[in-house]
């Protein structure tokens, strides 16, 4: 069920992200979501793309340090308080969220939230039980 997130270690300096997005564009990889966590020295770039295998291959070939991890994707309504209700579910199930980021759907009145947790299965079970719709690789490809 989980979706694939590409994680790339980058130096916190000018042009670091552009050179990555350039390579992806040249290889026809489309970005669905992007988030970056940065410190003074380095950044960790997290990407959801339409073709994670190609993205991983072309970036590794260029010498990037890249790792694919499974994350949970959940669809929530585009209204105030919707994210809170999803997070409440995880809280009640005692699931710690390492980090998250969200993006809007283009056409539907929905937002998507990407969650990084220790145990994907229990997070997915808890969210589904509470009536949330999880997103799959297939959903990502349709976006």
């Amino acid at each position: 069920m989980a979706i694939k997130q590409l994680t790339i270690f980058v130096q916190n300096k000018k042009g670091a992200i552009v050179s990555i997005t350039d390579i992806l564009a040249e290889n026809n990889v489309n970005l669905r979501a992007l988030s970056i966590a940065e410190t003074e020295d380095f950044g960790i770039l997290r990407l959801i793309v339409n073709d994670d295998k190609t993205a991983e291959r072309v970036l590794s070939e260029q010498g990037y340090l890249i790792k694919t991890v499974d994350v949970v994707g959940v669809k929530i309504g585009d209204a105030p308080g919707k994210l809170t209700s999803a997070l409440d579910v995880l809280d009640e199930a005692d699931i710690n969220v390492e980090y998250l980021y969200a993006f809007m759907a283009r056409t539907e009145k929905h937002a998507y939230v990407v969650l990084r947790v220790e145990d994907n299965n229990s997070a997915e079970t808890a969210l589904e039980k509470a009536g949330f719709h999880l997103i799959t690789e297939a959903d990502i490809n349709k976006l």
Binding site: Q11, T39, D41, F42, I44, L65, K67
Partner: protein
């Protein structure tokens, strides 16, 4: 393991005979230099020493030292002892610590240098059956030329690859069945990493031995290279000023390097007073070239800190051994009053599971030294969580503090982002000197 020697009589000569041979060569050499090198004649005259005062190696301490500064002053021809028409070759240093040093060779000098390298190759198990891949830089740098010549003398099939173009190195290594690799240890580690990345296992390539030198490396780095390449890794020592690699070389025992002391007479001195220290004491290594013709340096201070030993070696060689240099009088950093050798950083990295790819940057801010160490992240350790990476930096900094006594700021950086030049990694950037 049966021992092979390239020049058995010399390599296993009883030390009393060796001393006689050295004394005889030294007498001739001092006369040759005094007569032909005005620069050194002036130094001897200033000290009140005449060639006839030097009767044997016991009189060596009477001669004046030469330093890198003398080489700069005498650049380019001031220390030349033969007319240029007798010379057949020039080699030069990489110039990493200031102005380049230019050295001259007659055919005799090239031959003795290549013989020294041949001894090293044979000590590493090389025979005419071997395919020797020379991945030291070719050109002015002595690494390529020295091992290339030595490989020819042994009769190995020589692959003159020079450094760089790693994919081609790997392709030739596999397709042409290289059995001996000669390059800098950092390049050997890099080739090892690349092989691993491309999915090779050590048994996929026929390499059995490597001869690595031209920069300092640690035992941990040796283990690491031996594992990734599936070989036995031998150290080799030399410097352009004395001829190039092959001044000293490691044998199967791997406990120090045998000095080719029939050509290069070694002393250990106190770097502050210049006083000669007894065997076994740590100090600055000094070399006297006993039979080079064109560029015969007497008592040249290498700035390498090391120890000599004449303990019996299981390989049968009687040549005196030098320990791996523990640092250099000039690359020892003093940071916030504490002595720091780059090799200590390397040891910590290998202990903590990192590759020895690092760069030390020292600067000064508000009258205090800043001490930053950049370390390349490895794929095994990379995680998607910032907190984990910060924890890794912190634990590396703690391990370095334990080793050095001062606290560095550790920065993890992407793989291969630390600049490598001519196969030599740039380990230290000291910006304090620029102020």
């Amino acid at each position: 393991m049966a021992q092979n020697y390239y020049q058995k009589e010399i390599e296993t000569m009883p030390s009393s005979d060796m001393k006689k041979l050295q004394s005889e060569k030294l007498r001739k050499q001092v006369k040759h230099v005094y007569e032909n090198v005005e620069y050194y004649r002036n130094l001897m005259d200033e000290k009140g020493v005449k060639p006839e005062d030097i009767n044997g190696i016991e009189d060596l301490h009477k001669l004046p030292f030469l330093t890198k500064a003398d080489l700069r002053d005498a650049y380019p021809y001031g220390l030349l002892a033969k007319p240029l028409k007798e010379c057949v070759r020039i080699q030069s240093t990489s110039g990493t610590t200031g102005r380049r040093v230019v050295a001259f060779y007659t055919q005799h000098d090239v031959d003795l240098w290549e013989d020294c390298c041949a001894r090293a190759i044979v000590a590493a198990g090389g025979t005419k059956e071997d395919v020797c891949q020379v991945a030291y830089g070719y050109g002015l740098f002595t690494g390529g030329a020295g091992l290339h010549g030595g490989s020819h003398k042994v009769g190995c099939l020589t692959l003159p690859m020079s450094s760089g173009n790693t994919d081609r190195q790997i392709q030739f290594m596999e397709d042409l069945g290289a059995t001996i690799l000669c390059c800098t240890p950092s390049y050997a580690a890099y080739i090892g990493e690349s092989l691993k990345e491309q999915g090779y296992k050590p048994e996929d390539i026929p390499l059995k031995a490597g001869i690595f030198g031209a920069e300092p490396w640690t035992e941990e780095m040796r283990k690491n290279i031996e594992e990734t390449l599936g070989i036995k890794a031998y150290d080799i020592y030399g410097l352009t000023e004395t001829s190039g690699p092959g001044v000293a070389f490691e044998c199967s025992e791997q406990t120090g390097m045998h000095i080719n002391e029939d050509h290069f007479l070694a002393e250990i001195i106190d770097p502050d007073t210049g006083e000669v220290l007894p065997e076994g004491e740590k100090g600055e290594l000094v070399f006297t070239a006993l039979d080079k013709e064109a560029f015969p340096l007497l008592r040249y201070r290498t700035r390498d800190i090391c120890v000599l030993s004449r303990k019996k070696c299981s390989c049968g060689r009687t040549l005196i051994k030098m320990a791996k240099p523990m640092g250099r009088t000039d690359d020892m950093l003093i940071i916030r009053g504490v002595n720091v050798f780059p090799s200590q950083i390397e040891t910590v990295l290998l202990n903590e599971g990192y590759q020895p790819n690092y760069q030390i940057i020292v600067d000064r801010s508000n009258n205090t030294d800043t001490f930053d160490v950049h370390v390349e992240m490895t794929p095994e350790q990379f995680t998607d969580k910032v907190g984990d990476v910060l924890k890794m930096e912190k634990s590396l900094a703690n391990a370095m503090k334990t080793m050095l006594g001062i606290n560095p700021a550790v920065h993890l950086v992407p793989p291969k982002s630390i600049v490598r030049s001519e196969g030599k990694a740039v380990r230290v950037i000291d910006k304090r000197k620029l102020v």
